[in-house]
């Protein structure tokens, strides 16, 4: 499944970039994210609870940041297993285009699902993924209000 979009965010590029590299920010913004811990310079472990149609499951997996080109773009790539519910994997290419005090975030997502999730929920995956992406960016923008990198523990530079 492929999906793309863009979102104008009310914050300068540098701040958005920092937030995008901040596990606390990501945890607070990813819908259903229960845990997100840094395990290496650009790696995280995450647990996300998701529901697609009749299938709901907790996905445990790894998230990696690749092709980092600070403060402009990276690829965030992840893979999660949800037991009998199946698996989900994919990546998003994220690009930040500065525009004065605001930033346009452009993303393209490529995601794959398997197991029960695909078997029973496939017809709902697209809409579920779109909903999740929307929720993420809305939450992310909200959380950016009053965000200062200092509030975060170890934002990447």
């Amino acid at each position: 499944m492929d999906m793309n979009g863009e979102k104008v965010i009310n914050a300068p590029q540098a701040l958005v970039w920092q937030a995008l590299n901040d596990p606390d920010m990501l945890r607070a913004s990813i819908p259903g994210c229960q845990e997100l811990e840094r395990t290496g310079e650009n790696g995280f472990e995450a647990t996300v609870k998701a529901k697609v149609g009749p299938v709901s499951a907790k996905f445990a997996g790894v998230v990696e940041l690749l092709d980092i080109n600070a403060p402009e773009s990276y690829r965030i790539s992840g893979e999660g297993k949800g037991g009998v519910a199946g698996f989900a994997s994919g990546h998003a290419d994220v690009k930040l285009i500065p525009d004065g005090d605001t930033t346009t975030l452009v993303y393209t997502v490529n995601a794959k699902v398997g197991g029960k999730l695909a078997q029973i929920g496939s017809r709902l995956i697209d809409s579920a993924a779109k909903k999740m992406a929307n929720q993420f960016f809305t939450k992310f923008s909200e959380n950016l209000e009053g965000y200062t990198p200092e509030t975060s523990s170890k934002a990447a530079d």
Binding site: G83, V84, G86, F87, K112, V113, G114, G115, K116, A118, Q119, I120, S122, R123
Partner: protein, 785 residues
């Protein structure tokens, strides 16, 4: 003396138990000490297994063991066989790729069997299965037929994923005909992938008796002996005497339950390893993933005609999907059960076909109700309809012009088969009468006034049933003969057991075979009890598929009955103090010719077991077995006509009338036969307008994997049907019966698609012709006006 029962719509003997909840399906059976198996299935379509971590699962509560393909291989359990060798154009056998119960090396489709967890309870086994961690090196999946030959190679043995490239007929000869033909009609067709979906999911219980060193397997099988044979002869080497297979009540099969599957094979193996009974019951999600699927062809057909619409030659090019492994008969379906039917009801003199069978990362594909013959009938009856359109001919006239006529029988087709008998005009005439063909234009006008597009379509199908004459199929590559056994065992009180190697799973064998035997011996049907589905009780038999139970199995029973009568005459001669040649038998009475001295079959049966005064040489007992090998296939044929109405604003299709006129030869129980037609029609209509098995072309995930996405025909999708008969009795079996199980499913797809294209006035539409497709076409047409 009772009235003759054959030909009467007797109510079914089996219904009392099935209607009161007393049926016994595999999942209803409990065994003491039983354990539960749950399979760990591949979530990906294609990948090399790097590691399987069993530790967490083994530590889970109740888990008794976790096993993988390597474990089974260590015990030298072999590959599940494909029993039909198709020889390709180069004279080479098809690529017989291995198919292990648990795949030891690679996952080849979503649902492939990677490991099995056995536990004390089902819940524990399922929880355990969740804990098995498998790592893959993922490979590019090969999903669609179009990409199969270019994609990643799935089996080492099969370069380009090609199982075989097979042909029938002469390419040079057909090319010559096409060069000089007046007109050629060419059509590209998709025969959509189907998921059989018998309502009872597959299930198995295996039990090992260490004292006897023998196994019992309860399985949802259509042919327990064949299953035992494959397990013994091909997979394990365990003697057949040590494996007992029981197929109790089975909740529908439709071909999908013919095969030896990985799950039951694994359970059999586990029963000894665990040394306790092991049960597995599939859930519907597993059925979708790992039952055999069906059809799935891409075809181009070309029909050459002279200026009058006389068929000169037909050329067929098909790519057929085998799925990820070869199921037991997969190779034969798109060849010998398909291309041998391309003559249809017509005198097409030259036919050439080329079929390429390919592997893909999808569930294995094999027979499903009709098996090859629906695909053949669909392409013939579609191309003939398009030809009529292109030639400006009436679709009825073009068919009649080319029909094989009653005086032409026996008719040698150019595609191996010889039809013994038929009358295609007769069933066409009757169908036209029943539907009031001449009144159609008025009905169309009336519908138009209501804003509906009304269409009419017909198909004149033929099928080859009563599978199968062993010598003939042997020449085609079959690894076994398809004869059948029948046994009639009279008891001392005059009741009779009938034993058959066929298996009923909805067809009403207890009733139909009961009617035959009751008539033969003049005894009440209540005194006849059918035994089937147990390899320890029934003589070796070949099972139920290919509309063979009555034509082949029923014939075997008749032959056994004849032997019983022969034996009975000897006993009667002794009882009546006459000589055997003077004893005649009729309606349950043995009598001395020209006298009124007689004894009943009941008296003879009693004396058979109380031989206190037998003369020397007369053997006690009244119990005879016959094996019947048919001399030819049977050839049911007929005409179906339907009328549809399409609402151009919504695409909603309504089937407003359906007339089925079939020639099944002799009909034993018309009520049961009608039920077979209805059920077949529902499945054929499902294929034509609703059902479609779809894998995501990129990931190979089955995206029509539940009843929410795979569109099964429901009551409100279907009409009531009108059924009529013509009859030309089969010439070569003692019943004159041809078989009725598959006809509806074969006739329905072309009938319905022909009606839809007629309603929309278009050349072609691919199956399934869903409401959305119809709506788009109607919308574009309205826009173009």
């Amino acid at each position: 003396m009772n009235d003759m029962l054959v030909g009467k719509p007797l109510k079914r003997k089996e219904d009392q138990r099935l209607l009161t909840g007393k049926g016994r399906y595999v999942d209803d059976i409990r065994r003491p000490g039983e354990t539960y198996a749950v399979f760990v299935r591949s979530p990906i379509a294609h990948g090399i297994i790097k590691s399987i971590d069993k530790e967490a699962a083994l530590a889970a509560p109740g888990v008794l063991g976790v096993f993988t393909g390597k474990d089974i291989q260590r015990d030298e359990w072999g590959s599940i066989p494909c029993g039909w060798v198709v020889t390709d154009r180069q004279g080479e056998p098809h690529k017989a790729v291995p198919h292990y119960a648990l795949t030891p090396d690679r996952a080849r489709y979503v649902g492939d069997h990677l490991a099995v967890v056995v536990a004390e309870t089902y819940e524990q086994a399922r929880d355990g299965a969740e804990l098995v961690e498998i790592e893959f090196e993922e490979l590019e999946p090969v999903v669609t037929l179009a990409m199969a030959m270019e994609g990643e190679q799935i089996h080492d043995l099969a370069p380009q994923n090609l199982c075989y490239d097979w042909e029938l007929g002469s390419r040079a000869e057909i090319d010559a005909i096409f060069e000089t033909a007046h007109h050629v009609t060419s059509l590209d067709l998709v025969n959509n992938r189907l998921v059989p979906n018998a309502m009872e999911p597959r299930a198995a219980i295996a039990e090992y008796d260490s004292g006897l060193d023998s196994y019992t397997l309860w399985s949802t099988s259509q042919n327990p002996h064949m299953l035992r044979w494959m397990l013994s002869g091909s997979v394990t080497g365990i003697p057949e005497t040590k494996i007992r297979v029981i197929a109790p009540d089975v909740g529908g099969g439709f071909g999908m339950k013919i095969y030896c599957y990985p799950e039951e094979t694994t359970c059999l193996w586990l029963s000894k390893v665990i040394d306790r009974p092991v049960r597995w019951t599939g859930d519907r999600s597993e059925s979708f993933l790992a039952d055999t699927h069906a059809r799935d062809h891409l075809t181009t057909v070309d029909l050459a005609m002279d200026k009058d619409g006389t068929f000169l030659g037909m050329k067929i090019d098909t790519t057929a999907n085998m799925g990820a492994y070869l199921s037991n008969y997969a190779t034969s379906i798109p060849t010998y059960f398909y291309a041998t039917l391309f003559a249809g009801c017509y005198k097409t003199p030259v036919i050439y076909s080329n079929v390429r069978a390919v592997f893909t990362n999808t569930s294995p594909v094999d027979a499903y109700r009709g098996a090859g013959r629906p695909e053949a009938a669909y392409l013939i009856e579609r191309v003939v309809d398009v030809a009529a359109r292109e030639m400006g001919m009436d679709p009825i006239d073009i068919r009649r012009r080319n029909f094989i006529k009653p005086e032409d029988f026996p008719y040698q087709t150019p595609v191996i088969l010889t039809y013994d008998i038929g009358d295609y005009d007769a069933s066409l005439d009757e169908a036209l009468r029943m539907i009031d063909y001449d009144g159609f234009p008025a009905r169309r006008e009336e519908a138009k006034a209501r804003g509906k597009l009304r269409g009419i379509g017909l198909a004149c199908y033929i099928e080859a049933c009563g599978v199968a004459p062993s010598q003939l199929i042997g020449k085609m590559g079959a690894g076994a003969g398809l004869w059948e056994s029948g046994q009639i065992r009279f008891n001392a009180t005059g009741t009779a057991f009938v034993l058959t190697g066929t298996h009923g799973h909805g067809q009403g064998h207890e009733t139909t075979f009961g009617q035959i035997v009751a008539d033969m011996f003049g005894i009440p049907i209540e005194d006849v009890e059918l035994i089937h589905g147990d390899t320890s009780q029934v003589p070796m038999g070949m099972g139920t598929y290919g509309s063979r139970s009555l034509a082949v199995g029923g014939s075997a029973i008749v032959r056994a009955g004849e032997k019983v009568i022969e034996k009975g005459r000897k006993i009667a001669a002794h009882m009546l103090e006459a000589s055997v040649i003077d004893i005649e038998f009729e309606q349950g009475l043995f009598s001395v010719t020209g006298t009124n001295k007689s004894v009943t079959i009941k008296e003879v049966a009693e004396r058979a077991y109380v031989p206190l005064d037998y003369p020397e040489g007369l053997e006690p007992g009244l119990d005879e077995t016959a094996f019947y090998d048919p001399g030819n296939f049977t050839y049911p044929a007929g005409t179906h006509i339907c009328e549809v109405e399409i609402d151009p604003r919504t695409g909603v299709l309504e089937i407003v009338d359906w007339v089925a006129v079939d020639d099944f030869g002799t009909v034993i129980n018309p009520m049961i036969v009608e039920g077979q037609i209805h059920g077949g029609l529902a499945q054929g209509i499902g294929q034509a307008i609703m059902e479609n098995g779809v894998y995501d072309p990129e990931s190979g995930q089955l995206i029509t994997g539940s009843f929410m996405d795979y569109c099964m025909p429901r009551a409100d999708d279907l009409p009531s049907f009108r059924v009529g008969y013509t009859c030309t009795p089969c010439t070569h079996n003692p019943l004159g019966a041809k078989g009725a199980g598959e006809a509806g499913c074969i006739a329905a797809p072309p009938t319905l698609i022909n009606a839809i294209v007629n309603a929309l006035d278009i050349r072609h539409i691919d199956m399934p012709a869903t409401g959305e497709k119809l709506w788009r076409i109607a919308r574009d047409k309205i826009a173009a006006q």
